[in-house]
Symmetry: C2
Subunit: 397 residues, 2 copies
């Protein structure tokens, strides 16, 4: 049994596992149809949207991404792709393969996309049809200001495609308040669900662009026109065999999220992030992303000089059954990534992680005293608790 | 709890459900990598192939289909699509969307593709690059002669794409013996597994065609060049988050298939098909597909005149918790489809189905005596048992 503190999948809630094991039923069965309607409603809660076209695509996050691009981008469409990590790069691949004309707005890995630079880019490319960006870069743990980027894109008449794979359920994703036109996420990060589903949501502007296409969507499987017929409330027609067990799992995961409440879930991710951060800093480690753009659920930490980062990961995995993530691309070998997402986001994981990392590092002659990180995390928890009590006006816990 | 005797999903074996509930681990974890290697080996057993590039695509059968087409078909490639049901039509959609030049070889729904007509078609279109056909048409229960069709395609220098969604595990699928170049199946039919995975296999000729492409594969998610890097035995790189729980499920489902043995599984599907057929015929019902092209696992039955077929399905579902399938396309309202696939293929299902159908039909003033179908099925089972005993030389069961 592994403790999962990598970039995902995160741990699955036991109630989700139990739900997944329910006997499968036909995808046109009235019972299944009711479950799907509830699922769509629960997804609208998670995405904070009223968009009728909100549903789980039958594939991993990459399918949700590709669904957005193949439907919204027509050959010849100019698309600004903001790239500050792996997933911006994947967006670019998608634009190229759909025949779009990409304009790449680069930012250093670990830094957010600067809204002013997007405005300048749009000024230089006034014929831009779409702006695509990653809200929460899994490869760096960096958050960009989605609300600002979308506002600017709209000022210049462009639609937006937003990657919320790592943010949904862990930090605010406000589809309607932001005006995000097309957005995709994934089941296996902050939703504590089995991997293999990609929640997506499209607003009216996005649907209009798809409907106004002069060319056919290049993918049969991802063509929203066909998917719409299947997920539409009225006439349920056959499109593909729905991944029933995974959908039961997502349904249960979203019920859990609604029971906890979105704001409480965000606060939980923030609380454990602060404790983890306190512990890491007590060991002399530093975070890659600067304050203000840090995602609580994904913590990129610089590997101290002289430490064999791969050996640290190997020992955490083999000795402590603990998975953490490696750096990707230009950050390979330079960072570790500590995910505290969904059901993985709990005090026992934070404490195990600090304790195991301290133990391995001290073994490897890195100057750290075993226990000092845990103590720092403990104090962080305690002071957060005091603050919360004060904020509640002394009305106890 | 439903008894599933429709076109799929079929029932999931309890051991598969249990395997699916195992805690998820990272997709780069050595334990996971070992499981994936075993899974590929088990799939090679199921497909009867040595193809190294044999793996489960992370999506339903439609993803396996699209993966074959987007990789093998380049814009301008002439593709003969054999169409005798819904899935031939979907293949055509795929050819059109990949920029291929389709030539449609039509056959009536419920009849197999005539090899001689394929030869004539290839003679008329000697520049054909690919022949695509459905081995087992789920929409009609009709089997085409895959070995013959592939042999002819190869005689004319064309590669083949084969749909084995409904056949794999239920009737012979001999990838290497046939020489099938690209083939796809699905997890939720005769493999008794959760829906959402699509086993695929590509031989050297297919891979060479992909490698020789002058244009990029239009789908990022389905690009075999990228998928190869992930599934290749040596350097495991990140492509997408693998649907871990579904993969555990498939691993267990394939272990079950290997324990039973391919030939025993085919024989089981044949045995229960014969019993079901005996019962249906005893009620005066007739099968759509003629002897010799009938798939044992998918039985299309003509709706008798004057019977409200939708009401029959509704009553079977609501009164007996039994799902059967409706007709599609030109066969809508004209047939029912009785699937006996994988774990759904067992005597209790056959008996329940005949008993429930007899009861509902007799209620609806169709001239059938309750019990006569069950009796016919019982006799069929008994005579099959006697035959088997004789064949075994009287050495008992």
């Amino acid at each position: 049994m592994r403790t999962l503190m990598g970039p995902g999948p995160s741990e699955i809630h036991p109630r989700v596992i139990a739900a997944m094991g329910q006997p499968v039923i036909g995808y046109l069965d009235p019972v299944f149809v009711t479950m799907m309607d509830e699922l769509k409603e629960l997804l609208r809660y998670a995405f904070m949207t009223e968009n009728p076209l909100t549903f789980p695509a039958s594939g991993p996050g990459s399918v949700g991404m590709e669904m957005c691009f193949v439907n919204l981008v027509e050959p010849g469409d100019k698309v600004i792709v903001c790239r500050n990590g792996v997933f911006g790069g994947r967006m670019l691949e998608n634009v190229e393969r759909t025949g779009g004309v990409p304009v790449v707005l680069e930012a250093p890995w670990g830094e957010p996309i600067d809204p002013q630079r997007l405005a300048d880019c749009l000024k230089a490319h006034p014929d831009t049809r779409i702006v695509a960006f990653v809200h929460a870069e899994t490869s760096t743990g960096c958050e960009s200001d989605a609300a600002a980027l979308i506002r600017i894109a709209h000022e210049y008449g462009a639609l937006t495609i937003v990657d919320a794979v790592t943010s949904l359920g862990g930090s605010p994703v406000k589809v309607d308040a932001w005006g995000a036109d097309a957005i995709y996420a994934a089941s296996q990060k902050c939703l504590s669900c089995t991997p293999g589903l990609s929640p997506v949501s499209f607003n009216t502007r996005a649907i209009e662009k798809v409907r106004a296409r002069k060319t056919r969507v290049q993918s049969w499987f991802m063509d929203l026109n066909l998917v719409l017929e299947y997920w539409a409330a009225s006439a349920r027609t056959y499109h593909h065999t729905a991944p029933g067990n995974s959908l039961y799992a997502l349904h249960e995961a979203l019920l859990l999220l609604r029971e906890e409440g979105l704001e409480a879930a965000w606060a939980r991710h923030r609380r454990h992030h602060l404790a983890l951060k306190a512990g890491l800093e007590a060991m002399g480690l530093t975070l890659l992303v600067k304050e203000g753009a840090r995602l609580p659920q994904m913590n990129a930490v610089r590997v101290p000089e002289g430490v064999d980062e791969k050996e640290v990961r190997r020992r955490l995995l083999t000795e402590f059954n603990l998975e953490i993530g490696a750096g990707l691309g230009p950050l390979a070998g330079k960072i570790w990534r500590f995910g505290i997402m969904g059901y993985s986001c709990k005090p026992e994981n934070v404490m195990l992680c600090l304790s195991a990392l301290g133990s391995v590092l001290s073994d490897m002659a890195y100057p750290v005293e075993v226990g000092q990180a845990e103590s720092a995390a403990h104090h962080a928890y305690a002071s957060l608790h005091t603050e919360a009590a004060k904020a509640a006006g002394g009305r106890g816990r």
